[in-house]
Symmetry: C2
Subunit: 381 residues, 2 copies
């Protein structure tokens, strides 16, 4: 996977691997978040698939991961191809702005201020990798021209689970290597159902998959204007990052907990879009977010003609008069799940916890995790 | 529990403990049938509770158990008060007629032909034991007078899960110690829903709980007329039962597998009722059959105000927006079951098998067991 594409020579991919994914409990746990799990039975975990996809065109040495101290060892074990210097570890999570900013500042010091950094979540599924690569190439071109570039996913349904990007005029001839890019008029938050329907009708809205590609100096200058405290801290840390591990650790321990927690969309993308600084490349490569068991189910082929989806060994599940269920037999070897007359349920079996819920309540699994925490079931969270 | 009641001095109770109870899978297994399980969390298993109830008036020494070779050790372990000589073991199950007939023939040889034998299933729940005792006393009196006496349970709903007893005229002054006894006009099989409703309206029908009380000579003479082959075999075996364990085992191995398999209702109760030989004592003592998870649920108090029933440790079950479920957390220590937005389900968790089904399908769990057997899942059956 070292065949780099000339269009990406100045490009570095960043995978921020944070967030527990509590809507995927009990498969996803605090100690083993969803990006470490192979939900689709592909043989590769979410973060491995993400690494493979990016390394295929950026090159192994041009992929970095930012993750929490609790998961650094697991990430390193799952990604032996990842250069150890490109595994950036946070002692505590400070949301996406700080994570992307610090990684960008480190890469800028190593490779120059005009390096292009692209940030891609560790838990997305992309079907057509060739089309994805072409979209990233256009985003990189727009980034070189000074834009913060994002990729706007073609909305295939009026989803209320995603934020949206409202696109504006085409960039036109301004960036020849980004012929499909358009200006972003605004980023909007997850809509209600009627609003999502209206968005879909206009044809102006695309899903925001949180993919951002930008020149390091563009991001750092923007931060210096809009979030000077974050800029100051990440610059100070990046300056000593590669000097000495003890020094770095001491700096992180001292400065990181005080960094503002704010999402990249709020801190950078939205205000910069209002200034005309954000471009969007339309992405039609078959994308999905592994957000909850319903979305996992959409990506797993049916195990039978009754549309039952098995996340794991189908030999461990026996369905009788049962249709449309999502079943994860992860309770251990030899353990069998028998469904009789059960329809449209999520049944997730793990060695210490079992979840049963209707598929329609998939988004609310997060509430169950909160309820378990409130009742003292921390050992299984 | 040795305080015997004078009215029962010639009475011996028999508990035929057979049948897997596959509608209660995966709690009930071939190797550990339902009568060995404490479904109600009372601290006593079904067979222990049955033994206690009968020994309380018959005396420990007047209670016998007939069970299969596979379960003899478990029965003996659960019933240390049971006289070892009263544990009758079949190498293979030959249905209730043979089991009751053999036990009766053995007891007749030991205690005389006019001993009264009462057979009571190992998996029934009886709420008012005092009333139960009074009913058995009347049945014993009717048995002494030459009837095969049964106890007809007051039907509280139009159940399709039980057979019915159609009662006839009162015995009147014929048996002074059985003032409530009536003649049985007929035994009828499990009805459909409309028929069950019609039965309930007439007031003539009672549930058949398979309780039979009779003088040994009455049963053996009836069998000699109606099922001479069964009579011949059990008489021959009973004649040597107490002689020598090896001789007994050899006889059982040789003769028992050839004995006709037929239910007591068909072989004895129905034809004898047609001849006017069966009496019924009305029983209003709060009876239930632990037939399926729905019937277990009816007997377990709710764990919360949403009518969720927990068979086991309530601390292992967390319900959120969930009502009317029957949950058995028997999957092992530390294992938690989380129900989110789930209503009216049966969730039975054991170390090697998990069942999920709507409560309304409880009777069909038997079909699931058959399906698992057909697919080769014998290890969990």
């Amino acid at each position: 996977m070292q065949q780099t594409d000339g269009r990406f020579s100045d490009f570095h991919a960043l995978i921020p691997a944070g967030g527990v994914g509590s809507r995927l409990w009990p498969l996803s746990r605090g100690a083993r978040p969803k990006f470490l799990y192979d939900f689709l039975g592909s043989g590769r975990t979410m973060i491995q698939a993400t690494f493979d996809r990016l390394a295929a065109f950026a090159g192994n040495g041009h992929v970095a991961v930012m993750t929490g101290a609790a998961h650094a060892a697991a990430v390193a074990a799952q990604l032996p191809e990842l250069d150890g210097r490109n595994l950036f570890v946070e002692p505590v999570g400070r949301d996406s702005t700080a994570a992307i900013a610090l990684a960008t500042a480190i890469l800028a010091r190593r490779h120059g201020c005009d390096v292009v950094v692209g940030s891609f979540a560790a838990d997305h599924v992309i079907r057509d990798e060739e089309t994805f690569r072409e979209c990233v190439a256009q985003a990189v071109a727009a980034a070189r021209a000074g834009y913060v570039a994002t990729i706007g996913i073609a909305a295939t349904r009026p989803s209320t689970a995603f934020g949206y990007i409202r696109q504006g005029r085409a960039l036109g001839g301004e960036v020849p290597d980004a012929p499909d890019a358009r200006m972003v008029r605004a980023f909007v938050e997850k809509p209600d159902s009627a609003t999502a329907q209206a968005y879909l009708m206009t044809g102006e809205y695309r899903w925001n998959a949180g993919m951002f590609v930008m020149r390091a100096d563009v991001l750092l200058d923007t931060l210096a204007r809009l979030r000077p405290r974050i800029h100051e801290t990440v610059t100070a840390i990046a300056a000593i990052w590669d000097d000495d591990a003890d020094h770095r650790a001491a700096m992180m321990e001292r400065l990181w907990p005080g960094v503002e927690k704010i999402a990249f969309d709020y801190a950078v993308a939205e205000p910069l879009a209002a200034e005309g600084g954000v471009a969007v490349v339309p992405g039609g490569f078959g994308w999905d977010d592994i957000g909850d068991f319903n979305s996992v189910a959409a990506l797993v082929p049916s195990a039978d003609r009754y549309n039952n989806k098995i996340i794991g060994d189908p030999g461990r599940v026996v369905c009788l008069d049962s249709a449309g269920n999502v079943v994860a037999p992860a309770g251990g070897a030899g353990r069998t799940i028998a469904l009789l007359g059960a329809d449209d349920l999520v049944v997730v079996d793990t060695p210490d916890a079992l979840l049963v819920a209707p598929r329609a309540r998939s988004q609310e699994v997060k509430r169950m995790v909160a309820a378990l925490a409130a009742r003292g079931y921390d050992a299984i969270l």
